[in-house]
């Protein structure tokens, strides 16, 4: 049970759902601060390269490397924010399941969404949307952010729209 309004000296105050408060402050705000810092570091690195090697032939490749590093950091920040979001959403839904008298032990986000849809009516948002987010969360946490991995002998994969091919060029050995 959650308190939604408080009466203080006869005046009612509306309280936002704890999930909304947590997401706005601990997910969105935190993510924004991280991205701002990544951008600041990237600009500082660009300035350093321009001042230290203005005419060097390798300047372009150094700039591209710095930009690529910043992209990787930004992608990592997005992924960690998603992990935080899905975890908090799972906790909120656990509370909802308890509210409707369900047993939420040893179940994940998707099974709990099914329970809530059965008890409260079909939600306007498809469960598959959240199942996709869970697969991305699981990839980040358990599979080093790979698009496809094996768990308990079963192949799992993130949806195509959350995956990309990446070419890594490594110099190996001498001929």
């Amino acid at each position: 049970m959650r308190i939604k309004r408080l009466l203080i000296l006869g005046k009612a105050s509306e309280l936002p759902h704890p999930f909304i408060e947590e997401v706005e402050w601990l997910v969105s705000q935190n993510h924004e601060l991280v991205l701002e810092n990544i951008e600041r570091l990237e600009k500082a690195e660009f300035s350093r390269l321009y001042s230290e090697m203005p005419n060097a032939p390798e300047l372009d490749s150094e700039l591209a490397y710095a930009a690529s590093m910043a992209d990787d950091l930004g992608n990592a920040a997005n992924q960690l924010a998603l992990v935080s979001l899905v975890t908090r959403l799972q906790h909120s839904n656990n509370v909802f399941v308890k509210d409707v008298g369900g047993d939420n032990e040893n179940t994940g986000l998707v099974p709990n969404l099914r329970i809530l849809n059965r008890r409260l009516g079909e939600s306007p948002i498809a469960i598959t949307f959240f199942a996709d987010l869970v697969s991305v969360r699981d990839s980040v946490v358990h599979a080093d952010s790979m698009a496809e991995w094996t768990y308990n002998g079963k192949t799992r994969r993130v949806p195509e729209r959350y995956a990309k091919r990446r070419n890594s060029r490594n110099r190996r050995g001498q001929l």
């Binding site: 997910v27 909120s92 948002i125 790979m146």
Partner: protein
């Protein structure tokens, strides 16, 4: 002469716009369940409200402290 090996892998690409969408949809989902719970008979805040307004000296600043 160097031997250049290109390794092609596929990995998660969760963009900032994906995150914004996920946050927005998740908040909508939580609000929807919260409203349905209010409409159902399984949840009522009235007794708690009365207790809070009559007896509580706890600060109302952050709702996460008010989850019971």
């Amino acid at each position: 002469m160097q031997n250049v090996v290109t390794v092609v892998t596929e990995e998660v690409n969760f963009r900032e716009s994906d995150l914004r969408e996920a946050i927005e949809v998740s908040i909508r989902q939580v609000k929807w369940y919260d409203e349905r719970l209010d409409e159902s008979e399984s949840r009522s805040n009235e007794p708690l409200l009365e207790r809070w307004s009559a007896n509580s000296s706890l600060p109302p600043a952050r709702s996460k402290h008010c989850t019971v």
